[in-house]
Amino acid sequence: MRTFLLVVAVLQFGFLVATFALLVVRRQVDRANARRRNAEHARLTQIVLAALGGGPLEPALDHIDQSHFDAVAAVLYRHARPTGDPAWERLVRGARTTRWFGTLRDRYVHSRFWWRRLVGARSLSIVATADDLDIARALVADKHPAVKLAAIAILDRAHDPGLIELVLNEAIASKRVVRGYMFDTLTGLGRALTPILSARLTHPRSTFELRDLIRLAASTTDPELLDEVLALKDHADPEVRGGVARTLGSYPGPATRDALLTLIGDDAWQVRTRAAIALGAVGGAHAADPLSKALSDNNWWVRLRAAIALRRLGDVGDAHLARARDGDDRFAAEMASYAMGLTEAAVQDYLA
């Protein structure tokens, strides 16, 4: 036991001293590196900004060629401009001819280390072109979620139907928040998404998929999808019907209103809640009566959303709320009183 403890004590002491030395040396080395990196960063930023401001491209490309990979990636990402900006596209064309891009393509996007692929995906999201579709597909399908998440931003630069379909499939297969994040990117594509989404809404692979597709349709607010959405209002799945109600809130019109009047009487409270919100959004005098009735719903969320929706209808809604407040139904009266007391900012907060 004594020998064992002695050996452990000596090893520990040695390790402690070595660790302390390592900490001190590392701090000094890091300070020196940080100074060098900051200087390089500042120089590169200045030259890249000059090139983006219309200055000569060659000095920027020379610096990109000579600078550390990470510094170039960070500076370009920080000062990246929206796709299509002429100055940015000129810089991208030049940057793609540099050693930096070669390293990105050869050593980062295909690396076996996920953190390198993460840097690769992030960098590619600002300099990709149609030539990089194969790489983009591989990164979007990456097994590491952080890489996948970074890679979907490449869609902004490459509106390829195959890639959009791949991202859509990846999104549907993902967990809710990841899916929502991917849907955000898909929604940003505008009309490029419509034909793909329309086809999938008409021929979904499953009810689960349809629930997600209808959610995506709600965020696109593309009128070309209205017929496909309306066709689903009687679907057997309450989540799909709820999605339809939510989507219809973006399409004011007689067909929409009729569908919503049906949906606010749905068996599922989630659908009724969604329908109440949507009726408040599409507005109109027809919305007030069913919303007023919904104030007596046995579900708290439906009552709340109906009351907020009535506030959105203006004077007509306020009149209905006042009647409910003074009425016999205690729950309706309480909710009406609550909604009437809210400031406009609080109502907007509920609608956010």
Binding site: M1, R2, L5, L6, V8, A9, Q12, F13, F15, L16, T19, F20, L22, L23, R26, R27, Y77, W115, L118, V119, R122, P145, A146, L149, A150, A153, S174, K175, R176, V177, V178, R179, G180, Y181, M182, F183, D184, S219, W300, R303, L304, E334, M335, S337, Y338, G341, L342, T343, A345, A346, Q348, D349, A352
Partner: protein, 473 residues
Amino acid sequence: MTDALYLFVARLVGFVDDTVIWYFLVVNSFYALLLILSIPELWKHWKITRQEDLELYLGSEALTPITILIPAHNMEASITESVAAQIGLEYPQHEVVVVNDGSSDGTMERLRGVFDLYEVPPAFPAKLPTKTVRAYYRSHREPRLLVVDKENGGKADALNAGLNAGRYPLVVAVDADTIVAHDALLRLARPFLLGENVAAAGGTIRVANGCRVENSRVVEARVPRGVLSAMQVPEYLRAFLFGRLGWNKLGGNLIVSGAFGLFQRSYLLAIGGYTSGNVVEDLDLVVRLHRHLRAERVPYRIPFVPDPVAWTEVPSDLRTHARQRERWHRGLVITMLSNLNLLFNRKFGRIGFITAPFFFFGEMLAPVLELLGYLVTMLGAALGILNVQIALLFLAVALGYQMLLSIWAVILEEATFRVYGRVGDFLRLVLYSILEPFGYRQLTVLWRLWGFWNALRGLTHWGEMRRKGFLEG
């Protein structure tokens, strides 16, 4: 003393000595394992942090909205700054629910005055029973603020009232005297973005004492000047950077800090919310959450995320420190003893076979075993049967090991987030890591033993926490 008695005592001392040494080896090997397992986890988060564009998250509707719950009892001095700071946190959609838990000072009046509150009808579903709610208020100035004014029922009761009134699917409970970093909510949402089935998630709690605070934000992290507060900095680093990160790999955390933790509201409602009367509501809550989700066979994780930071004021005087540690250990003992059937229970998987046994034997019993070690050593010395050389060597190994663990926590901090930028602070951090086993550790053992004793006596009070507040500027 007869020879037979002497022989018996000598054997007993020898047996206890061996037990303590083996206990030390096993428990500390486990700590070493946690340390090793924490490295890839820390590496993962650090690497993502460096490539993460939080502004993209801010513009996204994908992140689930969050309700921030602030239970407040007699917080007149700091409540409005705290509420304003939580409202100002960066996140796509969040609301702040302040629960005034029957304060006898001017907490409610301060809130009413600063936020221009107006009363709204009690149109909120009360899914969890709480003490009587006197009134609900909204603010003319901050649409995202809801104030619940209720009779005093303790922190858990206040949190339950907040849970009833909150409307978003995620809930973050924040102590009123905690400073949450402006981007902490966005960072805390990362496990959701990585596609994990998150039931709850915890962030890092760091020591706010000594830090430079401006507008309820820590703008410069410093190691506090006071020895007692400074000693707690490496202690917190150790507890969070590798203690809880290591558990991410070993079956999940048993603690999500009550000062800053995120939960799925539906799960909290399903388990009946916080338990009133429990002195460590966070531990109790997470244990019950594990039990519920396991029983319901819900796939879930309770990860710890290292980079979202909340700053808290730690006790700077011995009396408050003693009360805090006593309460923590008392709560641990009560929770573990009331969940004994978790131990080695196949139904609870790794929680039953790794996490719960470690908390029971490695955490709960640790001060008792340590005291036993000291007593037996003294008894051995008094009887002249102590092998002084081995005792000293063991002491050197034990203290050295403690130092190593603390230094490694500092290394992890240095290699990744490096919050303490000044060389002086770094050197003091190392110094306190080395000094911690001399005196401070023994003090905490004493407080924990006191907590153990009080738990066995059935005490359930919180004890007063005296705080000095943050220094602005």
